[in-house]
Structure formats: structure tokens, C-alpha cells
């Protein structure tokens, strides 16, 4: 005769297994839900931030376009020229100032026959041909040029010879005038 199991699950001691599987189901669903919820939350935040970005971008474009008026363009052009002038003024070496400095440091007995300024990258080369009475006066004149100021460097006599008219010495003096900023 076949045996019939009339005992319920509770009685057969299988109950803990069923509880465990239920718990596993619940925990599984909870962990899935948490995972999905976190993803959903992050996605929501991303969309919200993107919307805020869109709004900010539109506002930036709007503000930039508001600035695109004729008045602002005119102002821009003027400021552009002012900046150019400022830059050029900073780098300009006044030839008049240089001439005045040389005049102040020319001895009464010295006479110029040639004076040449040539602008180089950050200094001006000055090439002067002077006529003086003798070599002592020429030496004095070279010394006088070197006293123009700290801007002056390398004052040297390039050549000297008797003047064409035979009335003194003609000396060619070269020196450099540095830009001081």
C-alpha cells in the first residue's frame, strides 16, 4: 500500500526553508529596487542639471547678443585703438629726447658733421662723427657721451683721422642707448 504523506509542511520541518526563500525574494527585490532607484535618482539629477545648463546657456547667449550693438562695437573699436596706442607709447623712444641729451653732453669745442640713430630691438645705436681740436678733446668728448646716463653703454671710438680741412681731428664715436622701462 502506498504511503500518503498527510503531514503539513509545518509539521514536516520544511518551514524554515520556505521562510529563507521568501526572505531571499524580498531582499533580492529590495536590492534591485535600490539599484534602480539610485540609477533613477542620478538620471533625474542629470536631466535637471542639463535643463539648468540649457537655461544658463540661453541666458549667456542672450546677454552676449544684447552686447552686439553699434554702440558697443564703436566702444570696442575705440578701446582697441587705445590699447594699441598704449603699447606703442611704451615702446617708443623719443628721438628728440635723445637729441637733447646729446646736445647737453656736447663740449663747446666739438662740432658734429654726422649723427645717425638706428633703432635696434631694445636699444638705439648712435653713430656720431665729430670734429674736435685734438685727440685730448676727442677723449673728453667720448667721456662726456658716457656720462649721458645709465642708459648709455659701450661708448667707443670707431676711427679718427685728420679733418679734411686740416683743422683738427675727425672722430667717429659709436654708442648704444638702451630702452629703459
Amino acid at each position: 500500500m502506498a504511503k500518503i504523506n498527510l503531514k503539513s509542511n509545518e509539521m514536516s520541518g520544511r518551514r524554515p526553508n520556505s521562510q529563507g526563500s521568501n526572505k531571499s525574494l524580498v531582499f533580492g527585490i529590495v536590492s534591485l529596487a535600490v539599484g534602480l532607484a539610485v540609477f533613477g535618482m542620478v538620471r533625474y539629477l542629470t536631466i535637471q542639471t542639463e535643463n539648468q545648463n540649457e537655461e544658463a546657456r540661453a541666458e549667456v547667449v542672450q546677454l552676449e547678443n544684447n552686447m552686439n550693438t553699434d554702440d558697443v562695437k564703436k566702444l570696442y573699436d575705440f578701446q582697441d585703438r587705445l590699447i594699441e596706442i598704449e603699447g606703442l607709447m611704451d615702446n617708443k623712444v623719443s628721438q628728440m629726447e635723445l637729441l637733447e641729451k646729446i646736445e647737453r653732453h656736447t663740449l663747446p669745442a666739438t662740432r658734429f658733421t654726422k649723427l645717425e640713430f638706428e633703432r635696434q630691438s631694445s636699444k638705439t645705436e648712435i653713430d656720431a662723427t665729430v670734429v674736435v681740436e685734438n685727440h685730448v678733446e676727442l677723449a673728453k668728448q667720448i667721456e662726456a657721451f658716457s656720462l649721458i646716463g645709465s642708459e648709455v653703454e659701450n661708448v667707443f671710438l670707431s676711427s679718427s683721422k685728420i679733418n679734411r680741412e686740416g683743422s683738427g681731428i675727425e672722430g667717429n664715436v659709436i654708442f648704444y642707448y638702451k630702452d629703459i622701462k
Partner: protein
């Protein structure tokens, strides 16, 4: 039953996978967007304050006198305007009492043609300063020549000197003898080489594009640095008066070879 028990580890694994493959990349995107938002907010704040600075600068600009405005526009005009340059040199020669022997303007067009600008670059949006070299030869006494150099130094049209040659002349031309009176000292010849500039006006200027391209001029305006102080410095140190451009007057002649 076994499947039910296995559901938790499987679900945990799936949740982990969701985190790795979906939530993490999404989080990275979110952070990028947040950074972008911070940048945009800062840009917006800068623009709002910049807008106020530009409004102030516009008010200042509108309150400048016509002479102050002309002084700057003449210093670096929008066109080469060689006629005005010549007129200004002539005026300086007249004031200082020297005689102009020759004037030469070196290749004004070449500078412009040589500009090699990439389309879309900042340089293509903004005009570039063009420099032209001029050579002027004059004759007179040293005192007059020094005065002429001073005059050219203080032209309203901005000039930067390149070379100066002052040389004693032994032979004096007949024309010069008649027209120049030299009281003290010998006749001197002066060759002056200098640059003068122009900068084209860009009618299609797009301020918005310049802001995006971080143009230094618009940046200075946005940060409230409208450099009106330069006008005063320029007027004080270089220029004595605003140059009034020449006009052709009434032109028209039937026999163009007649005197």
C-alpha cells in the same frame, strides 16, 4: 524553491551590474554637467557684471569731447590716409622752418597682402594693425631740424622712429639757397625714417564671438578697464593738438597740363 533562494544573489548581482554599467556612467555625466553648470553660472555672473561695466564705459565714451575722440582716431586711423600724413609732415616742416627735399612711403600695400590669417581664428575676427614706413628728407639749420624731429615725434598720427641721419652738407642746391635762410651754422640734411600705422574698422564685428574667443580687448572692457587715461597721457607726452584732416576743396580742371 531553490530558484527563490537563488533570487537574492542574482538580484544583488543584477543591482551591482546596474550600478557598474548604468549608475556610475550616469554619475560621471551628472558630474560633468555640474561642472559645466558651475562654469556657465560663473560666465553668466561675469557677463552680468561685464554688461554693467560696458554700460559704464559707454557712458564714459559718450562723454568724451569730439577732440579727444579725434585724437585717438587720428593716431591710428582706420585707413592709411597718406594724404593726411603728408599734410601733417608738411605742417611740421613749415612750423620748424625746414625744407622738404623728398618723402617716400615704402610698400604700403605689401604689409596688408602679407597677412596670413587662418579663417575662424581670433585674428580673422579682429582687424590687425598695419605699419607703413616713411622716409622724409629735409634740409635746414640744425636748430630747425631738431625742431622738425620734435614736431614729427609729437604728430597726432602716431609715429615710431626707426632711423635718423643728420649730416652736414658741403654743397647747397640753388633752390635750397633761395628758399632757406640759415643764420647760424652750416646747412644740414636730415633723413628721418619712421613708421606710422592704421587699423581697419571691422564692420562685421561680432561682440558675442569675441567674448567666446577670449579677445583681450573685450575682456578688458568686461572687466571695467576702459582706458581713457591713455588719452590724457598721449595728449600730454606726445601730441600738442588734434590734426585737422585736409580736404581737396573744389577740384576740376579742363587742361590738366596747364599751370
Amino acid at each position: 524553491m531553490k530558484l527563490k533562494i537563488l533570487f537574492f544573489p542574482i538580484a544583488l548581482f543584477v543591482a551591482f551590474m546596474i550600478t557598474i554599467f548604468f549608475t556610475k556612467p550616469e554619475w560621471d555625466i551628472y558630474q560633468e554637467k555640474q561642472e559645466e553648470l558651475t562654469k556657465l553660472t560663473m560666465e553668466l555672473d561675469d557677463l552680468k557684471s561685464g554688461n554693467a561695466s560696458i554700460e559704464n564705459a559707454t557712458k564714459k565714451f559718450n562723454s568724451l569731447t569730439p577732440d579727444q575722440e579725434s585724437l585717438v582716431l587720428n593716431a591710428i586711423p582706420s585707413e592709411e590716409k597718406n594724404d593726411d600724413f603728408l599734410a601733417e609732415v608738411h605742417k611740421s616742416a613749415e612750423t620748424s622752418g625746414v625744407f622738404i627735399i623728398s618723402t617716400k612711403i615704402k610698400n604700403p600695400q605689401i604689409n596688408r597682402a602679407n597677412r596670413n590669417i587662418l579663417p575662424g581664428s581670433l585674428a580673422s575676427m579682429t582687424p590687425t594693425r598695419t605699419g607703413v614706413t616713411a622716409e622724409v628728407s629735409v634740409m635746414g639749420s640744425y636748430i630747425d631740424i631738431a625742431e622738425f624731429v620734435k614736431e614729427v615725434d609729437s604728430h597726432n598720427r602716431f609715429t615710431t622712429p626707426r632711423e635718423l641721419l643728420i649730416i652736414e652738407q658741403q654743397v647747397i642746391a640753388d633752390v635750397a639757397e633761395e628758399e632757406i635762410s640759415v643764420e647760424n651754422g652750416s646747412m644740414i640734411k636730415c633723413e628721418l625714417t619712421f613708421d606710422f600705422f592704421s587699423k581697419e574698422k571691422n564692420e562685421k564685428l561680432q561682440i558675442a564671438n569675441l567674448i567666446r574667443a577670449n579677445d583681450p580687448v573685450i575682456k578688458s572692457l568686461l572687466s571695467g578697464q576702459f582706458k581713457t587715461g591713455i588719452i590724457e597721457d598721449y595728449q600730454n607726452s606726445i601730441t600738442r593738438e588734434v590734426f585737422r584732416p585736409v580736404s581737396a576743396g573744389s577740384a576740376g580742371k579742363e587742361d590738366i597740363f596747364s599751370r
